[in-house]
């Protein structure tokens, strides 16, 4: 498994879905979660019906789960 390769692929998938300014890191005891941070303006969209298709696109990069970090991008990282 190459975590870096999955991260880059996931971030590309987000851009292809029209989600800009996002970053991805990996969480979970099996490194199975793509933890996504997006600017606050993207929140409503990510939590709406579109979120499911966005998640499917990111999962294709090799993740089991795709989840949004509840901390805002303008706050100190919790990572």
């Amino acid at each position: 498994m190459s975590g870096d390769a999955r991260i880059a692929a996931a971030e590309r998938a987000l851009i292809e879905q029209g989600v800009f300014g996002a970053s991805v890191d990996v969480e979970g005891h099996e490194h199975e979660i793509a933890a996504v941070r997006v600017p606050p303006a993207q929140w409503e969209r990510m939590m709406g019906p579109e979120g499911v298709s966005i998640a499917q696109a990111v999962k294709a990069a090799g993740f089991r789960y795709v989840a949004l970090d509840l901390a805002h991008a303008d706050e100190p990282s919790s990572v």
């Binding site: 969480e27 979970g28 005891h29 099996e30 199975e32 979660i33 933890a35 996504v36 929140w43 409503e44 990510m46 939590m47 709406g48 019906p49 979120g51 499911v52 966005i54 998640a55 990111v58 089991r64 789960y65 795709v66 989840a67 949004l68 970090d69 509840l70 901390a71 805002h72 919790s78 990572v79």
Partner: protein, 278 residues
């Protein structure tokens, strides 16, 4: 609407059982079953038994107690010790088998002591096809599933519960707290308490159908699609509550709550489905 044929079938099955000890969690199905059993057999032939352990949320225990009191259901609480079993605590993908072996073993003893002929569970027709290793333990202990045998679906049980005035009729499904831990992450009282604390905080914020999944020091929240739109407006409160519960980071799953999400990593050969054994 519940077909009369299914109502009659359930009544006939309960009469056939004679007297019953029911695994009674305080959830929709077991509460309904206990209430109907009292109606059909009379309170003297029914005992609802709740297993008390760290893996049971305190609000479920409260519901079990209150409904039993309000609806005249004879009720007993017994302590279960699944946490003492290292095979359970290691959290393999058949963890439920070890928990249910403990539970049904205790209920079988209670039933014998009290002269109850049959032990019952609340499995229903919609449970067929789920990953349910605990059902193997039920079969080993001769536990019957009248709701399943009568072909009652979850929606029908909810509708009938509503008719009976049961407060649980629209209660979201509420499996044990250990179901929030991915297989391979050890089940400990501390982790279960973290999950319960975070979930209680979300309930206090008005969320009803969700799960806090425990991924080590990270919480991954699955919120029902009908409620996930409320997350952005409550972001700070949720984040604070989850961290207060001892997690380093709070994440919200973009796909929302779906039943059995932690089984998504299992291969088909690892699944134990109701009706696929015996």
């Amino acid at each position: 609407m519940v077909p009369q044929e299914k109502r009659d079938r359930l009544t006939a099955i309960l009469r056939e059982c004679g007297s019953v000890a029911i695994g009674y969690s305080g959830g929709v199905d077991s509460v309904f079953l206990a209430r109907v059993a009292v109606e059909v057999l009379g309170a003297g032939r029914v005992l609802a038994v709740t297993g008390k352990s760290d893996s049971v949320a305190s609000w479920m225990e409260d519901t079990a107690r209150e409904v039993a009191r309000d609806f005249g259901i004879p009720w007993l609480e017994v302590e279960t010790r699944e946490m003492d079993d290292p095979r359970y605590a290691a959290n393999p993908n058949n963890r439920c088998y070890f928990c249910k072996s403990e539970l049904w073993g205790r209920l079988a003893s209670v039933a014998r002591e009290r002269g109850m002929k049959t032990v019952l569970d609340g499995s229903n027709a919609d449970d067929v096809g789920d990953h349910r290793p605990g059902a193997v333990a039920a079969a080993e202990n001769a536990v019957r599933s009248p709701l399943l045998e009568a072909g009652l679906t979850k929606d029908e049980i909810r509708a009938w519960s509503h008719e009976l005035g049961l407060p649980t009729w629209d209660q979201p499904a509420a499996p044990c707290l250990a179901s929030r831990l991915p297989y391979g992450i050890a089940v400990t009282p501390q982790r279960l308490k973290q999950v319960e604390t975070a979930e209680l905080a979300l309930r206090a914020l008005g969320f009803r159908d969700f799960r806090v999944r425990h991924h080590g020091d990270v919480a991954r929240l699955e919120v029902h699609p009908g409620e996930i739109g409320r997350v952005p407006g409550n972001r700070r409160e949720i984040d604070a509550a989850v961290r207060e519960a001892g997690f380093r980071r709070a994440l919200v799953d973009l796909q929302g709550y779906r039943r059995g999400a932690l089984n998504e990593g299992l291969a088909a050969s690892q699944l134990v489905q109701l009706g696929s054994f015996a």
